[in-house]
């Protein structure tokens, strides 16, 4: 696993921004956005935050934080299989961490394509996981829709995260 080269700023107040912003993105995931046809499936904001911080500052969003935030997401969404999101997000973080050198300091398009790959992988994995838990093959259409929606909404999430990033962190 690639070790992290970014400067350490564990002492500065900015160092909590990745965890705090991911926490907020987790909460936003469960707030009802009552747009027509939108409420049933909403984009996975938590995944955006985890992707962004794992690409740029994995030192400030450690796997233990990803685990806890994943659990929180499960608790808030009433997931009957507590820990499923924690597992999925941990795997996503590991995958991004291993490939982050392709995305860091590159065009936004490259970053977005990377997110597309991660989101697709995550959703196929969680579709299979849920199917195993439920003991039957689940309809894949909602998950395909959620993937598309999450990838389409990524520029918005990425913009907010980049603003926070520049405002509070050096590297």
């Amino acid at each position: 696993m690639a070790r992290v080269m970014a400067p350490r700023e564990s002492g500065t107040p900015g160092s909590v921004v990745p965890v705090l912003s991911t926490f907020l993105f987790v909460i936003i995931s469960v707030v009802p956005l009552q747009l027509p046809g939108f409420a049933a499936v909403s984009p996975s904001f938590a995944l955006m935050a985890i992707y962004h911080w794992t690409v740029y500052r994995p030192d400030l969003l450690p796997r233990s934080a990803v685990f806890v935030l994943g659990l929180l997401l499960d608790l808030l969404t009433g997931m009957p299989y507590l820990g499923a999101s924690a597992l999925t997000l941990l795997i996503a973080r590991t995958a991004v961490l291993m490939t982050r050198r392709h995305f860091v300091n590159r065009d936004f398009t490259v970053l977005w394509l990377g997110f597309l790959a991660v989101a697709a992988g995550v959703f196929i994995f969680s579709w299979a996981l849920m199917g195993i838990c439920a003991g039957r093959i689940l309809d894949a259409r909602p998950i395909a829709f959620e993937t598309a929606l999450t990838v389409a909404a990524y520029p918005v999430g990425s913009y907010v995260l980049a603003r926070l990033h520049r405002a509070f962190l050096r590297g």
């Binding site: 909460i27 027509p36 409420a39 049933a40 608790l75 820990g83 597992l87």
Partner: protein, 296 residues
């Protein structure tokens, strides 16, 4: 804590498998309905509900604005439709009044015991599961408001689900469309019983139908009261679509746009733990032929 380099390296290597293992373990434990996990869920949601409400308020306002614009565009056509509907409803009102009067006089004649009274309260939706695999919402009422697990949740249009989890100030409603929702219903026209199973699509499906030929699109679906979870006769939806022998039901309530819901306690105990169900009465078996000299 200071660790020697080899110990640290080992801890680093093991951390990820450990966390993955813990997630998997929790998935198994959580499914086993362990009380501690249920309580943790409720406590976490309770603790975060103020934050969620604070975020929900401006977002709700914004989406209400979008909805207003949409409605304004559609207003002319809607007006036409409503005029027609109003004319039809006036006739129905006439019929309903006559039936109500008739019903009252018949009740009087037969001295019918009135239905058990139900208590209800309104709650605001503050959270939405959002993901592709879950269909539930959080509302801002909990045990301190007298909400109990198993209560029915309705909008003005019809049933939306039941309370699956209660915290002190929040409760979770498992919607009809969730994979884990199974509601005993009947076809109102034929009184035929069935189960309404959610499958995460917007239209739950009917299962355990006895005679599939007797169900037509447009048939009204109401709760059957079987299982003691819901009282009989709550409006649920209409049969909308039949494909490959699967009957789909369009719920009356718009489950994708819930803001205020009614939580109703019908005093039913279908979801209570087994200890609350009275044990079966002992049956005395009489030997054949001994019936004549049985005790008086």
């Amino acid at each position: 804590m200071r660790l020697s380099p080899p110990v640290r390296a080992a801890a680093q290597r093991l951390a990820l498998p450990m966390l993955v293992f813990m997630s998997a373990l929790l998935m198994v434990l959580g499914k086993a309905d362990i009380l501690v996990i249920d309580k943790t869920r409720a406590a976490v949601v309770d603790a975060l509900s103020p934050v969620m409400e604070d975020i929900a308020t401006p977002l709700t306002a914004a989406s209400a604005a979008v909805a207003t614009v949409e409605d304004a565009v559609a207003v002319f056509q809607e007006n036409e439709t409503l005029r027609g509907e109003n004319a039809r409803l006036l006739q129905w009102q006439e019929v309903a009044r006559r039936l109500a009067a008739e019903n009252a006089s018949l009740r009087n004649l037969t001295k019918l015991v009135p239905d058990q009274s139900a208590t209800s309260l309104a709650a605001r939706v503050i959270g939405d599961s959002g993901g592709a695999f879950l269909r539930n919402v959080l509302v801002d009422a909990g045990t301190r408001d007298g909400v109990e697990r198993g209560e029915a949740a309705l909008t003005g249009a019809g049933l939306i689900g039941r309370i699956s989890e209660v915290g002190q100030r929040t409760a979770r409603i498992l919607l009809l469309t969730d994979l884990n929702s199974h509601v005993p219903v009947m076809i109102e026209r034929t009184s035929e019983r069935a189960l309404l199973d959610g499958d995460n699509s917007s239209q739950p499906r009917l299962s355990f139908l006895e005679s599939k030929a007797a169900v037509n699109p447009g048939d009204r679906i109401v709760t059957s009261g079987a299982g003691g979870v819901f009282p009989p006769g709550l409006p649920v939806g209409v049969v909308s679509d039949i494909e490959n022998g699967i009957f789909r039901v369009e719920p009356y309530a718009d489950l994708s746009r819930l803001d205020f819901v009614r939580l109703v306690d019908y005093g039913l105990s279908g979801l209570l733990p087994t200890s609350a169900i009275p044990p079966p009465r002992p049956v005395r078996v009489k030997p054949r032929g001994a019936a004549a000299d049985a005790d008086p």
